[in-house]
């Protein structure tokens, strides 16, 4: 299990390859990548991601450990960036490895649902013209936790 909270970009291919190589007998590897989306047709200049150093790592570790215990996982990886990101940049990735795909898919969804609402990150959209808005948490994201 590896958790990385970092400002630097990550190589999706290299991270996925390294993760898969470490679980050669797993049979199923699922990866998910979150990307800065320009939702407002060219209006987004950047996404600033703030976090709570110390708590972030603890929260992500607890979430990943819970996933490891709930599903039959060979390994799990969470990488989440902070700082200023441009549209199109990768924000985060999760990877899960299991003997069968159902465990790997479900655990990846669980990781995503929990890190969206329970890991201390806050996103701020920097818009054209210099205005900015904190991204509001969605009720749907909170509701998504109830299925687990």
């Amino acid at each position: 299990m590896r958790i990385s909270v970092q400002e630097a970009p990550f190589e999706l291919g290299a991270e996925s390859d390294a993760f898969a190589a470490g679980v050669a007998n797993a049979g199923a590897v699922v990866t998910f990548t979150g990307v800065v989306r320009d939702a407002d047709q060219g209006g987004l200049q950047a996404m600033e991601i703030e976090h709570y150093p110390g708590m972030t790592e603890k929260a992500l570790t607890a979430i990943a450990e819970e996933a490891m215990s709930r599903w039959s996982l060979a390994d799990a990886l969470v990488i989440h960036r902070h700082g200023r990101l441009a549209p199109g940049e990768r924000i985060m990735m999760v990877a899960t490895a299991a003997r069968h795909r159902k465990d790997a898919f479900e655990a990846a969804e669980y990781l995503m649902d929990y890190l969206k609402s329970r890991a201390p990150f806050w996103k701020k959209e920097i818009l054209a013209g210099g205005t900015s808005d904190w991204v509001a948490a969605k009720d749907a994201d909170e509701d998504a936790l109830k299925r687990w």
Partner: protein
């Protein structure tokens, strides 16, 4: 104790962290103390339903006791992923 603020809470109060000497028994008591300090605190803590609290880096509740707590953090609902 150390009190930390993140995201718009940090912006409204105007600082990321501060040392607070308090005898507040619960988080809610601490919030009342901070609210009564200055308008910027009152503004940041106007609606507790829009805020979350962590005690020593674990999510907690506003009615939780502060006994033995070294670090309190206030922030809006998280938006990771």
């Amino acid at each position: 104790m150390d009190v930390l603020y993140f995201a718009w809470v940090r912006e409204r109060i105007g600082l990321p962290r501060e040392r607070v000497e308090t005898t507040a028994a619960t988080v809610a008591d601490l919030v009342e103390e901070l609210r009564s300090r200055e308008e910027r605190y009152a503004a940041a803590f106007a609606d507790l339903s829009a805020l979350r609290v962590a005690l020593d880096q674990e999510l907690s509740e506003f009615d939780a006791p502060l006994d033995g707590v070294r670090e309190v953090a206030f922030f809006p609902p998280m938006t990771g992923g």
